[in-house]
């Protein structure tokens, strides 16, 4: 269990945050650049010193300003995966991987080289030098190096930011495996909603050095007042669903959720899997009657729970379809259809609008 409470002033920027991390699972730190995400994890790692406060991990006090405690980074047992990997260029991959392992207390070396190499699929790289690795390979080695130091908490600072989308897709499953197979709490910094929706259990939303929201990912991403911070394009509902069947003829997958059935592009999960997916507000349209002769595959009966004004010409319509859904439409459309709270409508969602990258195998977070 992580307990964090710290303040820091950096020129005009003031950082102040207090929270308790979950004992396991993946906590995402989300926010724009300059919101204080890296400041926060550098304080956790001991690379930045708070001006006041306390940081504790389990029963270990890492920092306590009043008690004069400030453990140096090498004694904190917190793994750190940096955005740019930071592999040691003069050492080969194996020596990089073992750098922290050799320095970990013998009693705490729970994970071995073979296990990590297999988990991350890097056995063929051991004799190589960092300079000859691709961006994705570097990040996997950097993750392995941090894990082999047998930390009690793993920090990942935008580990995918420097990679193209193909490499991202290559690494995401490995991070999911870490989260699911090692009982190691992870703090994951990102400004990419897709990554967070896919990976996170909890989200801590930072804005200008303060915590704007903190809670399960579905709650934080579903709150209308936070949509400005999350970014209008990313706002929407997170929906828990179960994979019902695959349609091989049309390369579709059918999901069952509280509001009925959803068709999406074929995903790689097994039938019966519990899933979580995002339906963005801007991908949802509203009809007063069930339309026919339409290309849209997903037509979901719902009732209007609330109508929130949004920036510009839009309104965000909160729908109850057994689970919350959001629709971003123009205020003009809402007016023309005489939308009002309590009215029964149909939500229309194009199958192609659901991004497969955001379909996560963790429904309950």
């Amino acid at each position: 269990m992580l307990e964090f409470s710290a303040e820091k002033r950096l020129g005009d920027f003031r950082f102040a945050a207090t929270f308790r991390g979950p004992p396991s699972g993946l906590l995402a730190l989300y926010g724009r650049s300059g919101a204080g995400r890296t400041t926060l994890i550098n304080m956790l790692a001991g690379l930045a010193r708070p001006d006041a406060g306390k940081i504790a991990l389990g029963d270990r006090r890492l920092f306590d300003f009043d008690a004069g405690i400030d453990l140096p980074p090498e004694r904190r047992r917190i793994g750190y995966v940096f955005q740019e990997g930071r592999l040691f260029p003069h050492l080969d991959v194996k020596a990089n991987l073992l750098y922290g392992h050799r320095r970990a207390p013998a009693a705490e070396r729970k994970i071995g080289l073979g296990e990590i190499v297999e988990l991350l699929g890097i056995s063929h790289l051991l004799a190589r030098r960092p300079v000859s690795l691709s961006g994705g390979e570097k990040q996997r080695v950097a993750i392995g190096r941090a894990l082999l130091a047998c930390p009690q908490l793993l920090l990942l600072d935008e580990p995918l930011a420097a990679l193209d989308s193909e490499r991202k897709a290559e690494i995401l499953p490995y991070i999911e495996r870490l989260r699911d197979e090692l009982s190691l709490p992870i703090v994951y910094v990102s400004h990419d909603a897709t990554e967070i929706l896919r990976l996170a259990d909890q989200v801590l939303l930072l804005e200008q050095g303060r915590i704007a929201a903190y809670g399960p990912v579905a709650d934080v991403f579903g709150r209308p007042e936070l949509q400005r911070l999350i970014g209008a394009a990313e706002a929407g509902a997170l929906v828990a669903a179960k994979l019902e069947s695959h349609d091989e003829d049309f390369a579709l997958s059918y999901l069952r959720f509280a509001g009925g059935r959803l068709a999406i592009a074929r995903i790689a999960a097994d039938v019966g899997s519990e899933l979580r997916l995002r339906i963005r507000a801007r991908d949802v349209s509203i009809a007063l009657a069930r339309p026919s002769d339409l290309s849209i595959q997903n037509i979901i009966a719902a009732r209007i729970a609330a109508i929130h004004p949004a920036d510009g010409p839009y309104v965000d319509v909160e729908l109850d379809a057994g689970t919350p859904l959001w629709a971003r439409i123009t205020a003009r459309a809402a007016h023309d259809l005489s939308l009002a709270v309590g009215r029964d409508v149909f939500a229309l969602v194009k199958a192609v609008s659901i991004d497969r990258q955001t379909v996560a195998t963790r429904p309950n977070a």
């Binding site: 980074p73 004694r75 750190y80 930071r86 922290g100 320095r103």
Partner: protein
Amino acid sequence: MPALQLTDLEWEAIRLSLRVAFFSVAGSLPFGIAVAWLLARRNFPGKWFIDGLVHVPLVVPPVVVGYGLLVLFGRRGPIGAWLYDHLGITLIFTWKGAALAAAVMAFPLMVRAIRLSLEAVDRKLEAAARTLGAGPFDVFLTITLPLALPGVLVGIMLAFARSLGEFGATIIFVGNIPGQTRTLPIAIYTLTQQPDGDLAALRLSVISLVLALGAVVVSEFLARRIELRIRG
């Protein structure tokens, strides 16, 4: 006398010069690395003074440095007397004194090269090593120094070549004693003072050139190989 065969006196001067240069570099290297690290990585009051002091031998006449050494390390000098009384070490008029003079004169060159290479080491890599459980000195030995090694080699080479050529401070501090302090440059100087010494002086000059060039070539070769190993 065959033109390509070295005389005993020439051999003596070469051996002495190499010995003086070797001990000059070997003895000052730990200090050179420490001072370079201080200047590259630490801020402390009086840093400008240390920085200036290191550079003094580069800017004042070598003769002045030699005189300073004489005052400090002579038999009655504050340091020289202590060394003689407690450790039985005499520097003045010995090859050890020549090595000290060479080390002092070469020190700024050594520190400059090492400092530049330490400044070029990515401190983010050091921070990464700290998060992996390595303490500051461990990080220095396993990350900083290996990455700065090409620059350290350059510093060693420059200091070695400078030590081979050291004349002014040496002749003031330790004089001109055959087999003890008559290094190549001092032997050349001695020969040019003799009516028939021109040819012998020329021969020693060529030898000096070959030695200095050899040191440069070998260290460049090594630095390049290490650089390649690091950058892949």
